[in-house]
């Protein structure tokens, strides 16, 4: 029953999201015909224009357009991209792998590295490595991703000429060898990981340090358990649910960061695609992309909630709220 309720809430959210994006995208000034017909759109006669608009269904009120889009979307037809003149799904399918590679691997790296790093710092609270990490955490939150990208390009591509500064593969070697892909991934992935890792490690550290002050830690230490063992066996388990939900909530943050980084490095992923589609009024493509990232994020947050309820019985209250911490 609860699963059904959740699914309903999920679908309803998607519906609202689609309506909002649809409405906002069409309020924007600018000419969608330019992205379909290119330069020609500006030289069209009024009659031709009207015909072109009618052909794309742009002459009707926004409500009517939305209802028609919704009907088509429910049948699995998400429309065509004005710029690429292809089915939206085909365009996305060509790019989604690249973004999953960049975003997904970075996300996993951040997720798995932040925990041991934070735990190590909590173990060494107040000592030098800990202080360095705290400072790095503050610093990384203050460096805009695009500037870090520029800096790395300046150092590694322009000055040292070690790594390529753009694209996902060398020209002419589309989908080529793994080494080539890796070389192109190195800089963008560094930016995404470096931009977030310290921050999350810092969060883990703070949560663990709070936890170390609890009474049960004192009891266990008095009973003769080592500090490390208490930290890893008991404190970490208490922190994990919060960490999971934090990571889930932060998915769009990391995703958004990856989007910017993709744009700076002209990496052919969903980020560059969303940026282009918002800029050139590629309505159907923009809709599909927003819904896709929205659905992914909401799914993540639901999964995290379910997972943390399984780990931590305290989370299992009526409306999924955390009520007090012991």
């Amino acid at each position: 029953m609860r699963a059904v309720k959740k699914l309903a809430a999920f679908l309803l959210s998607l519906l609202v999201l689609s309506a909002a994006v649809f409405w906002f995208a069409r309020l924007a000034p600018g000419d969608p015909l330019v992205s379909y017909y290119g330069e020609r759109a500006e030289r069209m006669s009024p009659a031709d224009r009207a015909q072109a608009e009618a052909a794309l269904g742009l002459d009707q009120p926004i409500r009517v357009q939305y209802v028609r889009w919704l009907k088509n979307a429910l049948r699995g037809r998400l429309g065509i991209s004005y710029k690429y003149k292809q089915d939206v799904l085909t365009v996305i399918r060509g790019r989604v792998g690249n973004t999953l590679l960049l975003g997904g691997v970075s996300y996993l790296l951040i997720f798995t590295l932040a925990l041991p790093l934070g735990a190590a710092c909590a173990r060494m609270e107040g000592r030098l490595p800990d202080k360095v990490l705290c400072k790095l955490g503050t610093l990384s939150a203050c460096i805009p991703a695009f500037w870090l990208s520029l800096l790395l390009i300046l150092i590694f591509s322009v000055t040292l000429r070690w790594l390529p500064s753009s694209g996902a593969w060398s020209p002419g070697a589309a989908g080529g060898g793994a080494a080539d892909r890796l070389r192109h991934l190195a800089l963008p992935m560094t930016v995404v990981v470096a931009g977030h890792l310290w921050y999350y490690a810092y969060m883990v550290r703070n949560m663990l340090c709070d936890e170390l002050g609890a009474d049960y830690v004192l009891l266990e230490r008095a009973a003769g358990l080592s500090r490390t063992r208490t930290l890893l066996r008991h404190c970490l388990r208490n922190v994990l649910p919060t960490y999971l939900s934090l990571m889930a909530v932060e998915t769009p943050h990391i995703l958004g960061g990856a989007y910017v980084v993709e744009t700076v490095f002209s990496y052919p992923g969903l980020g560059t695609l969303s940026y282009e589609s918002a800029l050139y009024h590629d309505y159907d493509l923009l809709m599909a992309l927003c819904l896709l990232s929205g659905a992914a994020v909401m799914a993540c947050s639901m999964l995290a909630q379910a997972a943390s309820q399984r780990i931590d019985p305290r989370m299992r209250t009526g409306r999924g709220e955390v009520t007090g911490r012991g």
Partner: protein, 294 residues
């Protein structure tokens, strides 16, 4: 107080006040505060700090390296970077403060509505925040920005403010739920105080310490968002000088070997953001200290 200890023959407790006060003074981030003060004053009085007209394009002196005439060099359009920093800072800081104010105002009302209002309203607004949080905020700002048409300083501040109130609203909601049962709120409601009166006179002052930190962090986020958007070419146009629009020239500068066009505005931006963060953290520590004292 102390006499009683003496009377029963116990050594009176040592005054414990000195310790926290000394610690508090050591915690003040002097460097950050001074840097922030210099930047803010320099930007407010940019007419006096700038050495040249920042909009003047001296095409015979494009991309000059830092030197005697131009301490920070000139950009690809021959504008003096030192002067642009001050004028650009004024725009960037304005966007930051304006956006943070917008988001704090929305967060206050939305959070209080959630905390005090009926359950269905609470559920609705919380769903809305989840929804807004589910789209990468940059995409959201771009959409809003596009929908509002021409990019202006207020426009971009509004767009950023409208998309960054969710976190603060959740904090406000949690606090409002705690406070609504307290005597003074119930008493005010009994005497017929309206929602906005209760919010302004009784709730907002209590939210203040926790909101202050979030708002300062929102200023940081807004400045960062503005620079990112302007860099991507969807924020402020090149003629409106801000730290972000100065950096939008940076991508071309990379290949030209004119590192100062990339580094100097960027470093200014990063240092300012750092100073803002340190100040925010300090305010939070102080707020927590005073809350504990009460």
């Amino acid at each position: 107080m102390d006499e009683r200890f003496v009377l029963v023959g116990i050594r009176p407790p040592e005054p414990a006040r000195i310790l926290p006060r000394r610690r508090r003074r050591r915690d003040v981030p002097v460097l950050s505060l001074v840097f922030l003060a210099v930047v803010i004053l320099g930007c407010v009085f940019c007419r006096y700090t700038a050495i040249a007209d920042p909009a003047y394009m001296d095409l015979s002196g494009c991309s000059l390296a830092p030197g005697p005439g131009h301490p920070f060099g000139t950009d690809a359009m021959g504008r003096d970077i030192f002067s642009m920093i001050w004028y650009g800072g004024r725009v960037s800081l304005t966007v930051g403060v304006l956006a943070a104010a917008v988001s704090a105002a929305i967060a206050l009302v939305a959070g209080a509505l959630c905390g005090l209002g009926p359950d269905w309203l609470d559920g609705l607004v919380m769903r809305l925040t989840e929804l807004l949080l589910s789209v990468p905020s940059l995409l959201l700002v771009m959409l809003l920005q596009a929908a509002m048409g021409r990019s202006t300083v207020t426009g971009i501040a509004l767009a950023v403010g409208l998309t960054s109130w969710m976190g603060t609203a959740r904090v406000v909601r949690a606090q409002a739920r705690q406070l609504r049962r307290s005597g003074f709120v119930v008493a005010a409601r009994c005497m017929g105080a309206g929602f906005f009166h209760t919010l302004r006179r009784h709730l907002a002052p209590n939210f203040f310490p926790s909101i202050l930190f979030m708002t300062v962090m929102n200023i940081r986020g807004a400045i960062m968002a503005e620079s990112t958007l302007s860099f991507l070419g969807v924020g402020l146009p090149l003629e409106v000088i801000s730290w972000g629009s100065m950096l939008s020239l940076a991508e071309n500068a990379l290949t030209g070997g004119t590192w100062w066009i990339v580094l100097i505005p960027g470093l200014t931006l990063v240092c300012t953001l750092l100073a803002i963060t340190e100040t925010g953290e300090w305010l939070r520590r102080r707020g927590r200290g005073s809350a504990a004292a009460v």
